[in-house]
């Protein structure tokens, strides 16, 4: 018989799922989307993703050390932030601006609040919102997908020197001689010219747009896999999509030549990526079961309202940031009814 035995408190069993494993799985689910983005837009996107991820991880490491929280890079959450941020940026986005976005996202969006678990908003979107305001031209400069020679050369704007305006890409695009390139994303074409890109193209993603948001199909597959692994709350993307589609439907029925169809709304722009991978950020979404549905619907509705009536072409980023902001409030409203208590009445104190 042994001399030393260990004592712990119950429960003595533990599910074999930990934060780092969840985060690693999310990274794994994002990799096919990242690979597709690189295949579609070339070397520039590879550098872009490496830059945002590297900058996010470095920033996380620095602030965790500076604030004495130890090495928090190992929880993999900074990798997700960097990767997601890169996927939401235009393919030719200057690398130095991308690094700024990643730095701001982690520093202001996460470290300021106390790191993982305490951030109010999705750090990747905080970073993107910052560069959207700071560099409005660069973030709306789109380049064509499947440009010839995309693995041999970089998009000229990619290597813009730090603190410089991005190198114009119009001449470079003209030099590519690509047929049918209008210089606009499907979202912009729909909004300003009322030309709806066919569903086959937006769904499969063989279109222009931000690096990783183009293929609704691929995002759907990766998201469903993550939900099946029980590392993503399927109710969030489902309610975001439901909220967006249901808001778009009546307008489309009124005037299909002016307003986008619900499926176009779902498959265009960043909605699919945002619904599956950003709105579903565990930390920044409500914790209650009913809360996440309200939160998802709110984001979906707001996205479409901004798209249809706002000055912006895409509204999903601000919709999620606003959803994040009211998330704690939604959690408060939707506290579960405790067993044995009457609805709306607290159990008697004793």
């Amino acid at each position: 018989m042994p001399k030393i035995i260990e004592i712990r408190t119950s429960p003595h069993l533990k599910r074999a799922v930990s934060v780092d494993r969840i985060m690693r799985t999310v990274v794994l689910a994002l990799l096919p989307i990242a690979a597709f983005a690189v295949w579609q837009f070339g070397l520039s996107v590879l550098l872009l993703l490496l830059t945002t991820t590297g900058a996010a991880v470095a920033t996380e490491w620095f602030f965790a050390r500076a604030s004495g929280r130890g090495n928090t890079v190992a929880d993999w959450s900074a990798v997700i932030t960097g990767l997601l941020l890169g996927l939401t940026l235009p393919p030719g986005f200057p690398l130095w601006m991308a690094a700024v976005a990643a730095f701001v996202g982690i520093a202001l969006g996460k470290a300021l609040f106390g790191g993982l678990g305490y951030n109010v908003m999705n750090p990747a979107l905080v970073g993107r919102a910052f560069v959207q305001a700071a560099f409005p031209v660069a973030i709306t400069t789109w380049t064509p997908a499947f440009a010839p020679g995309r693995f041999a050369e970089l998009i000229p704007s990619t290597l813009t020197l730090p603190f410089m305006q991005p190198i114009p890409v119009a001449d470079w695009i003209a030099g590519l001689n690509m047929d049918g390139w209008s210089g606009a994303t499907p979202l912009a074409m729909q909004k300003f010219q009322h030309i709806e890109t066919p569903i086959t193209e937006t769904f499969t993603g063989l279109i222009a747009g931000s690096a990783g948001e183009t293929s609704a199909l691929l995002i759907l597959i990766c998201g469903l896999w993550l939900a099946w692994q029980r590392m993503l709350d399927w109710r969030i993307p489902a309610s975001v999509m439901a909220g967006a589609a249901l808001t778009a439907l009546p307008f489309w029925l009124m005037d299909p030549s002016l307003y986008p169809s619900p499926w176009f709304v779902l498959c265009s722009g960043g909605l699919m990526l945002a619904a599956w991978f950003m709105a579903s950020d565990m930390v920044a979404s409500p914790v209650t079961a009913r809360g996440v549905i309200i939160y998802g619907l709110f984001i979906g509705v707001l996205t479409v309202v901004i798209r249809l009536f706002g000055g912006l072409v895409e509204g999903v980023m601000y919709a999620i940031l606003l959803g994040n902001a009211i998330g704690p409030l939604i959690s408060d409203w939707t506290q579960p009814r405790v067993y044995g208590s009457v609805k709306g009445k607290q159990p008697p104190a004793h």
Binding site: S10, H12, Y339, G340
Partner: protein, 485 residues
């Protein structure tokens, strides 16, 4: 190193993901076709019941010395009736009940009282106990008995007899059974719920009791029906023991108001609040008792002992215990004399190698013992031994709460463990109780089990509750003191 641990965990504790998919599918289909009743939320830990589920109950020999704590139940400790050096016969009362919420103790073996002193317990502090040196040469016959017919006894006589037998909740609750038979004034019991769920992993003693001590169990149910004046009894059994359900249904005579029903295999189905919800769709009011909704809940082991002991006027001197776990060589179900040290039990079943941790009860709510000298008491349903390398003993990094909401989806009484955990960190213990129903928590451990951040939520809540209790006591003492002046 951490990565290695994770791989190890996923291999050895396949509780999510693909490895358990088939099992989950099986259970899902079962539920779909049979529609077994259940409650909201809860978890599905791996059961490990196959280690002992088909092991018939065998008798454990007597240890050299038995240690009988005077407080093995909820309430006041029993008062010793014996002196050091006195010889006692198996079954003889050795301690008497102290008022109503207390039960007597009986000698589990023929022998001599060696000492009355302090003994270690699983809870931690040493408590007064009677040390009984066993006469191995004695025949160990129970001589203290007298045949009687519970049918002819009045309700009052039955309740007294149940107390005299020293019966307490053998499922782990250890609440004196006769107190439960005596509902608070103004409450009428309509249904007797017989708890055969045994939702804790590893434990199979109740399963074996339902299979092997069926007649005693039915006798016990009839006695309890009479004492509580309930109209009917429902035996709730988790659907991983459908053989027990079928066996019970075959043995219960048609005219009896007793039914056996399968409920979903889900932890903590065996918690009385959960089982009442599953079987009757009633909710015990917060801070209330099952009697408030007209229900009394008894464990199958308790009623089997009642059915066996009452007609003979005997006392509770032994119980069925599952001795199992990955560190045990020959796991099984055993009739163990009350007071047998855990060390003796483990010696009898043999160990595969070094011991990591020994748990009294099941691994979800049981207590790890600090010493192998801790005795088996009336409420110990299992002894689970883990080896040192067991994944549940691996040191885990604690991360901040990532608000994933898993704990909210696991909590069977729909608390918000995530919020409670944050409040505990902020030492807002009062707020936890006043606004977030901390006192409703019965420490089932589901939240800590699912938490991916490895936050010891259940332990936080235990500490918070005990701090609140202390604060309340201090407050009352303060009030008393000011009144006096």
């Amino acid at each position: 190193m951490k990565h290695q641990t994770a791989v190890l965990d996923s291999q050895r504790v396949p509780e999510t993901g693909r490895s358990s998919l088939m099992k989950r599918l099986d259970q899902g289909l079962l539920r779909f076709f049979h529609g077994h009743k259940t409650f909201d939320h809860g978890i599905y830990p791996i059961e490990h019941k196959e280690l002992t589920a088909d092991k018939p109950i065998r008798r454990m020999p007597f240890a050299d010395e038995l240690v009988i704590p005077l407080l093995q139940h909820k309430g006041r400790p029993a008062i010793p009736l014996v002196k050091v050096g006195q010889e006692v016969v198996r079954g003889e009362p050795i301690a008497q009940a102290d008022h109503f919420v207390s039960v007597p103790m009986h000698a589990p073996a023929t022998g001599v009282i060696r000492a009355i002193g302090l003994a270690p317990t699983a809870e931690g502090p040493k408590t007064p106990a009677i040390f009984l040196k066993v006469y191995h040469a004695a025949s160990q016959q129970v001589l203290y008995d007298m045949e009687r017919d519970p049918e002819r006894m009045s309700v009052k006589e039955i309740i007294q007899a149940v107390q005299d037998a020293g019966l307490v909740g053998l499922g782990g609750g250890a609440f004196p059974s006769h107190v439960k038979m005596h509902p608070p004034a103004g409450r009428v019991i309509h249904t007797l719920v017989v708890n055969g769920c045994e939702c804790e992993p590893y434990l199979t003693c109740d399963h074996r009791i339902m299979l092997e001590q069926t007649d005693a169990l039915i006798r016990g149910i009839l006695i309890a029906l009479k004492a509580t004046r309930a109209e009917r009894a429902i035996i709730g059994v988790e659907d991983n023991k459908l053989d027990a359900v079928a066996h019970l249904r075959a043995r219960i005579a048609r005219h009896l108001p007793i039914t056996a029903e399968a409920v979903e295999t889900k932890y903590p189905q065996g918690a009385e609040k959960m089982l009442i919800k599953s079987l009757l769709d009633l909710e015990v009011p917060a801070g209330g008792l099952p009697a408030d909704v007209g229900v009394a809940v008894f464990n199958v082991g308790t009623l089997a002992q009642m059915g066996d002991l009452l007609p003979k006027s005997r006392g509770l001197i032994e119980r069925v215990v599952t001795v199992s776990g990955p560190a045990v060589k020959n796991p099984g179900n055993f009739v163990v004399p009350i007071g047998t040290p855990v060390r003796f039990l483990l010696e009898q079943v043999g160990l595969k190698g070094p011991l990591g941790q020994v748990i009294l009860g099941g691994p979800m709510m049981g207590m790890a013992v600090a010493s192998l000298d801790v005795p088996v008491t009336k409420s110990v349903s299992g002894v689970v031994a883990l080896e040192p390398e067991h994944p549940s003993l691996a040191r885990r990094q604690v991360y901040p709460c990532i608000k994933c909401g898993e704990c909210l989806n696991a909590c069977p009484i729909s608390l918000n463990p995530s919020m409670l955990g944050e409040l505990a960190l902020a030492r807002e213990y009062g707020t936890m109780a006043e606004q977030f129903n901390l006192d409703q928590c019965f420490e089932c451990g589901c939240c800590a089990y699912v938490c991916p951040s490895n936050i010891p939520l259940t332990q936080y809540f235990r500490i918070a509750k005990s701090i609140n209790r202390d604060a309340k006591t201090r407050h009352e003492q303060h009030l008393d003191a000011t009144k006096r002046h």
